[in-house]
């Protein structure tokens, strides 16, 4: 009996000692959420420890260097989330309110938040303050690169890519052009060059066969003696008037205002 008690005690001790190791690669969200200075609030436990540490370090650096608060927030089920008693059904409103109230404590701040809801498999990037203008034209570029990694289940890579793109935007001010933009630019260049060369070549061609004798008309000699109109038939066509339709919300970026009244930019995707 004593032996059994000892085994149970040792087993419990070992279990207690190894429990953090079994959780191992995940970090308790509550710990992070409780920490006001945390940049990664990983309630859905998506990120590895190493990625979490790396993300925190780089987002801290961004905050110190560029005075922008960068946040990554994940949740398993949006419906379970509540802020000051308010329930959320949309990821955008949740992201904006979480940033305004939880991260910034109701004070308008410059920053950007990536919110990921694993329940609805939706993500939203919300910008505020100076970041609204900074990311306005490039939000689709950022969303496309993050969502493609989330769709592939590469959560660490998605978060690191998000931070890398925020760093890049602050460092360079722009993103490298996409293949589509490069091809479009080449197409525009070739088309304009073709028009310019054709225009310059047309300057070299001045010989035209004469097809009229207008220069040799005796002024005032034209006499219209008779003009007749014969009605043949008529036809009527009818087309239905377009009915006003409700505008749908697509996956592209658009801005809004959270319940705080602060201006936000951003956009979302489903993965």
């Amino acid at each position: 009996m004593k032996q059994n008690m000892k085994k149970i005690f040792v087993s419990l001790l070992l279990l207690l000692l190894t429990l953090p190791l079994l959780a191992g690669t995940r970090v308790q969200a509550e710990t992070a959420a409780a920490d006001d200075s945390a940049h990664v609030i990983d309630k859905a436990l998506l990120f590895s420890v190493s990625a979490h540490v790396e993300l925190e370090r780089r987002m801290e650096e961004l905050e110190n260097k560029y005075a922008t608060k960068v946040i990554i927030l994940t949740t398993n089920k949006l419906e379970d989330e509540a802020l000051s008693g308010r329930q959320y059904s949309g990821i955008q409103a949740f992201a904006e309110d979480y940033y305004d109230y939880v991260v910034c404590g109701g004070v308008e701040t410059t920053g950007i938040i990536l919110a990921i809801d694993m329940g609805s498999r939706k993500m939203w990037v919300s910008t505020t303050g100076d970041e609204v203008g900074r990311f306005q034209s490039d939000i689709d570029y950022l969303l496309d690169r993050v969502v493609s990694r989330l769709s592939d289940g590469e959560n660490d890579a998605a978060a690191l890519k998000f931070v890398q793109l925020v760093e890049q935007k602050h460092k360079w001010g722009f993103y490298p052009p996409t293949v589509g933009k490069i091809l479009l630019s080449i197409g525009i260049g070739l088309l304009v060059a073709l028009i310019v060369v054709a225009g310059l070549k047309s300057q070299l061609k001045t010989v035209r066969q004469a097809t009229s004798a207008h220069n040799y008309t005796v002024p005032g000699s034209f006499h219209l003696r008779r003009i007749n109109e014969l009605f043949l038939y008529s036809s009527v066509t009818q087309t239905a008037k377009p009915q006003p339709q409700e505008r749908g919300v697509g996956g592209g970026g658009f801005g809004g205002s959270g319940s705080s009244g602060f201006s936000h930019g951003g956009g979302g995707r489903t993965f």
Binding site: G189, L200, T206, V207, V236, A240
Partner: protein
């Protein structure tokens, strides 16, 4: 051997040249100059006029192929030239010569517009024409080449006519209205006919077989207020040709131009329709009268890339026409430079703005 006329200075016997700038005949050796009337007095056929009817009646067949020889009255050399040449220079002594038989009697032109553009102005015109043309080969029409250019009086037929005709058009009128659910469009179809007439004066068509018709059309218009009664003296110092395409064979070109103008005038006179499409046209030329004139042209030829390019300058107005070659290297550089520049600008715009 054909007869040849030359113009010599009454003072020193040297050849006389017509100055387009001064409008007088100049002796380059003693500096004397003479008015048109003084030269005209020497014209042996001053009172005769070209008449196409008389010409057709009296000249059954002419052979204008091959060459004709003349004897230069200045140096006695035998000058061989085209059968259509009406004025030229003796290649041995440079004396001005006019082939009498090609500008007198039944084929004496009714009129002539003298040169108003001299070679100094010609150089300016050509330089201006080449300016700003980025694809033109460098020094393509250099001053040296222009110096060798010869003024040429070319034969033209001028047609006067009365055009009378009628046209039919398929026309539509469109009325639109709507109610709460539909937009309606009523298209009414009509057949519109109109009749009318108009007059044309001096529609020119070149009567030279070897001249490119499009080039001669392009050098128009001439201001026929300057048309003078023909006198051989005007040919002095220039090359001239007589016609080798007759008035009947050239009438088709004049007729097509007149009919096209009448048709477009009718088209412009019919108003009030949404669409108007010509479906029938009957235009006849009446009271056609033709006159034979010589008109001034500078012809410039230049070689590039193994091809010959010909330019014509209206000797009265200075209008220059002619298709210029393009430098392949310049075309490539311009194309690539523009494409790269625009592509870079577009990429910058797409990257930083959109």
């Amino acid at each position: 051997m054909s007869e040849l006329v030359s113009f010599k200075c009454p003072s020193c016997g040297s050849p006389l040249l017509y100055s387009a700038e001064k409008g007088r005949f100049i002796c380059e050796y003693c500096g004397s100059d003479f008015s048109f009337d003084e030269v005209k007095n020497a014209d042996v056929n001053a009172d005769t006029e070209f008449d196409w009817g008389d010409y057709k009646e009296n000249v059954s067949e002419e052979t204008l192929d091959g060459t004709v020889s003349y004897v230069c009255k200045s140096c006695g050399a035998e000058v061989v030239t085209d059968a259509v040449t009406a004025a030229s220079f003796c290649p041995y002594c440079g004396n001005v010569i006019v082939m009498e038989e090609n500008v007198s009697g039944l084929i004496k032109p009714n009129g002539i517009i003298p040169f108003r553009i001299d070679k100094t102005k010609l150089q300016e015109i050509v330089a201006r024409y080449c300016r700003g043309k980025k694809l033109l080969p460098k020094n393509f029409l250099s001053a040296q080449k222009i110096e060798k250019v010869q003024g040429l009086y070319l034969p033209f037929w001028l047609y006067d006519c009365h055009a009378d005709g009628s046209m039919g058009f398929d026309a539509t009128r469109i009325r639109t209205w709507s109610d709460t659910r539909y937009n309606y469009t009523e298209t009414s179809h009509y057949y519109v006919t109109c009749e009318g007439d108009m007059d044309f004066k001096k529609v020119p068509v070149d009567g030279s077989h070897r001249m490119d018709d499009a080039l001669m059309d392009s050098v128009e218009p001439y201001d026929f207020k300057d048309l003078q009664p023909f006198a051989k003296g005007y040919l002095s110092g220039f090359v001239a040709e007589r016609f080798d395409e007759d008035a009947d064979s050239c009438l088709g070109r004049a007729s097509a131009r007149v009919k096209s103008s009448v048709a477009s005038t009718f088209y412009g006179a019919v108003h009030g329709y949404a669409t108007l499409t010509s479906s029938r046209s009957q235009i006849d030329l009446q009271d056609t009268n033709v006159s034979y004139v010589l008109l001034p042209v500078y012809l410039i030829t230049a070689q590039y890339g193994g091809e010959t390019y010909t330019y014509a300058v209206n000797g009265q107005t200075g209008k220059i026409v002619g298709d210029l070659p393009s430098d392949k290297g310049k075309v490539t550089r311009t194309f690539l430079g523009t494409a790269l520049g625009v592509a870079a600008a577009a990429l910058a715009l797409l990257t930083f703005v959109f």
